[in-house]
């Protein structure tokens, strides 16, 4: 056992004061210490992408970051996507396009997709498929996930005229 560290995590705009060991990953701290169990853990070594969250707007693997490293950074998780009880365009598109079955990988794909859409909703199909290859889904075969992100991108493009 090593010393406990006092860390303040800012998750979806809310501050969480937690006391963690240095080895506590951000993913575990979110789930165990902040009670935010929307972020899932699959492989715990950076391959599956289920734990993908946004760190200052960039998609990262929360299992490959220690919680202490996220001090002072803006963390966004799947719990922060809906606003005022209303699902985000990407969340709705996942439902409408049957982009999930068991749902285990979904939080990671939603955060990855959110980062992609916020960067560039006009990205090419090739770039989209390449980016979505970051995460693993064992149910859908990915086609409907790509379809959902495309649908949300179309909706966002309509809303924000170029």
């Amino acid at each position: 056992m090593t010393e406990a560290l006092d860390v303040t995590l800012t998750v979806n705009g809310e501050r969480h004061a937690v006391r963690v060991e240095a080895r506590r990953t951000l993913a575990d701290a979110l789930r165990e210490d902040c009670g935010l169990t929307g972020t899932h853990l699959g492989c715990e070594h950076g391959v599956c992408g289920a734990c993908t969250v946004l760190l200052d707007g960039e998609p990262v693997r929360a299992c490959l970051l220690f919680a202490v490293q996220a001090q002072g950074r803006a963390i966004r998780t799947v719990e922060g996507l809906a606003e005022g009880g209303e699902l985000s365009p990407l969340q709705r598109a996942f439902i409408e396009n049957h982009a999930l079955q068991c749902g285990y990988c979904t939080p990671g794909f939603l955060m990855l997709g959110t980062a992609l859409l916020e960067r560039d909703p006009t990205m090419s199909d090739e770039a989209l498929v390449d980016a979505l290859s970051s995460n693993i889904c064992r149910c859908t075969g990915y086609a409907n996930i790509a379809k959902a992100v495309r649908a949300a991108a179309a909706e966002m493009r309509e809303r924000v005229p170029a």
């Binding site: 056992m1 060991e21 240095a22 575990d28 715990e44 960039e58 990262v60 202490v68 490293q69 290859s133």
Partner: protein, 285 residues
Amino acid sequence: MKPPPFHYHAPRTEAEALALLAELAPAEGRILAGGQSLVPAMALRVARPLHLIDINGLPGLDRLDVGDGHLRIGPLVRHAMIRRESVPGPLGALLDKVRGHIAHLPIRTRGTVCGSLANADPASEWCLVVATLGGEMTARSLRGERAIAAEDFFQGFMATALEPDELLAGLRLPLLADGTRWGFHEFSRRAGDYAQAASLVVMEVRDGVVLAARIGIGAVEDRPRRLPEAEALLIGRAPTAELLRQAAATARATLLPTDDDPTRPALAEAMIRRALADAAGIALP
């Protein structure tokens, strides 16, 4: 699994980081940069550092500078920061292409170029680039600073010339003159997986004749390296399909793969052939 326990250190200056490294390296202390190889290795309990010295809070280490005919990459430059628009000339296009082959987007936002070099995985794309282009590494410790050439830096499977108390403080790559031609190909089982074989070729062609050529191979031997026999075959000759095929076959014959996977030499030859063809600008079926 979960990473094993360790003591966490977050220095505020490079001097402080070097002092910590000098003190803690003999006690299983290591630098934590992007952590995209080290942290999974810890989760798998392959790596068990007792101290991690996190350099992410150090100012000014994420700089990408161009000058004196070189690109300088600081120790906290993430893979995702290597973009065509930030590096002039053919080197920018080359590095942009290579970046796309490194793991996946959420790994590239965090992992660092210098971290990949210090890790020295034989399948690392950046290590192949450094070995092929002749990059120069800067190692810094309390004892001072030294430059390490690519051919001395990589010493074997995940082994480098860095001493335990040395921080990899930067990488310098020569810019490529306008008109320099290049090709990069890698084979991996799925997008973002470790390469089974990778090749980078850089070529200068004038009046239809090859003036200079560098052929690099990665993920096949215990470290990336150039293939001088195959390079020599090209010099002074027209890069025809037949010559490129010969060069790739010669390259294959000089390889010493670290495993006995029967597909490895064929994959290596195919990647070299394709990289050669792209560099020469010809179609090679």
